[in-house]
């Protein structure tokens, strides 16, 4: 069973003015020029490849890192690649105040941790969560902690189905155990 405590270094998706970017859509996450790709190994290099200021993300990120984004992350298309590109890079989790409905489902079904944390924008605005900070998140208890600064923040615990699918691995594994 997979652990629901995740610890790693964060990338905070800020715009040029230093604000947490909201409404990042799937064409910025994984551009439609690459929609024909079906091999997950080829998807990582395109992660955030059309997001201004973050086009080199795939070259900077290291497996085990976490991503922090603004509200309505993953707006737009239903493309699974927008989740799979992070999986391919070994990103451990994405935290945002909210996700688009389809994006959230796609991540849950892939067993990729997407976690909602309402207070992220304030935290980032007050300098309490910065790129490079070490963060630990307990997705069952609903706790987040900036380890270096010793600051705690609330994270919405995984729902029953999200947790079950995550622990099983993905929707397919979960489906086979369910019935």
């Amino acid at each position: 069973m997979r652990a629901t405590t995740i610890r790693g270094r964060v990338w905070v998706l800020l715009d040029a003015s230093g604000r947490l970017i909201e409404d990042i859509d799937t064409d910025q996450i994984f551009h439609n020029a690459h929609l024909h790709l079906t091999d997950i190994a080829q998807m990582g290099q395109h992660a955030l490849g059309n997001l201004e200021g973050w086009k080199d993300f795939s070259k900077k990120v290291i497996a085990g890192d976490l991503v922090v984004a603004g509200r309505n992350f993953g707006a737009g298309s239903s493309r699974q690649q927008a989740v799979d590109c992070f999986v391919a890079l070994g990103v451990a989790a994405i935290l945002a105040p909210s996700f688009s409905a389809i994006y959230f489902r796609n991540a849950v079904n892939s067993g990729f941790p997407v976690l909602r944390a309402a207070g992220l924008a304030e935290l980032v605005g007050e300098g309490k969560l910065r790129t490079g900070d070490e963060v630990e998140v307990d997705a069952t208890a609903g706790r987040g902690r900036n380890v270096g600064l010793g600051i705690d923040f609330a994270v919405e615990p995984m729902s029953g189905v999200q947790s079950d699918i995550y622990k099983a691995g993905d929707l397919f594994r979960y489906g086979k155990t369910r019935r």
Binding site: R105, V161, F172, G175
Partner: protein, 416 residues
Amino acid sequence: MGRTVIEKIIQAHTRDDVAPGRIVWLDLDVRTARDFGGPNVVKHFEREYGNAAPADVRKTFFTFDLCAPACTLKYADNQQICRDFARKHGIAVHDVDRGIGSHTLIEEGHARPNTTVVGTDSHMNILGAVGSFGQGMGDVDIAFAFKTGMTWFEVPETVKVVLKGRPGPAATAKDLTLFLCRELGTTTIALRAAEFYGPAAAGLGLAGRITLCSMITEMAGIIGFIPETGPSLLRETAALGMKDFVPLASDPDAAYADVVELDVEGLGPQVAVPPSPNAVKPLAEVRGVRIDSGFIGSCTNGRTEDFLAAAEILRGRKVRPGIMLKVVPATRRVYEELLKTGLLADLFESGAIVLNPGCGGCAEGHAGLTGKGEVEVSTGNRNFPGKQGKGPVYLASPEVVAASCLKGEIAGPEEL
């Protein structure tokens, strides 16, 4: 307690108790995949289930609409992967000749009131226009749905949106929709269902309902319904073979998460400015922006009514030299109607480039991309950076796109 429309549809498709926030297992009446998403659905299906059959091939379809016919080798390969899988299992394919999948599902009668329909198209909730719970999903979800005929779903809350007053004579369904994109933003109905009431909603015909429901995704909503109907809708649905069409109504004592009243009295034409469908301004504030190209079509404005509106402006006039006007009917049925009514000739003679049915410019589709710096005015639903190529895209009604292409700058028909 009474139920909202979405609660009724979900309750009719699950054995679990339905209440907002609860996760239920939902029976799916129709499950589909496109040329985008489809090959991954096949890949997941074969990896997980080998040669096992889908749950019910009569409820399973492929619809090819993004790159139709394929203009890249990768899309050609991907479509053939889906065809081979479909042939092996006896699944029907609405192939590259048919046009936009969600529209085809309406025309074929697969999407009807009180049905559940899923597909690899984030605008599948367009089916709210006919009272069907359509939902876009990724390829993992759809592969699982192909095999099991079901999925999990969190019952959304519902917001009641009451439109007060009557829009002005120049306002179209797209203008009302763009107005809602601005007013509701990506927060008010986010992750919720919406029900639209008031004469401005009830009076919409099928094409107008499709326009409005298609952009619920841009408002971050799950789905939109228009429970009240008018005579034109009943006529149009009858023509599509839906006898005694009655969309579900919510119960009088249904519980809403929020009730929003919006004044649409005298509403005029609206334009979404790049790079967001929610950055909407009255036409008057955008007028005069120089353009290079126009696009009429997409799942939002690709019905015969949309081309009729454009043709009435373009008839007997010429698209300004140097401006490209790309026209893409939503489906083969629409294309046939344009042919038989002479509208196709009107569009052609004005200088428009009329392409075969499909999605058009979205997802690097078949209707041509915008180059860097190329300004387009489009009837589509998304103008995010890079969605239609590299150029900035303004979203507007077919009327405004037609008038703009005649003038070479963003304009309304009254300026001609």
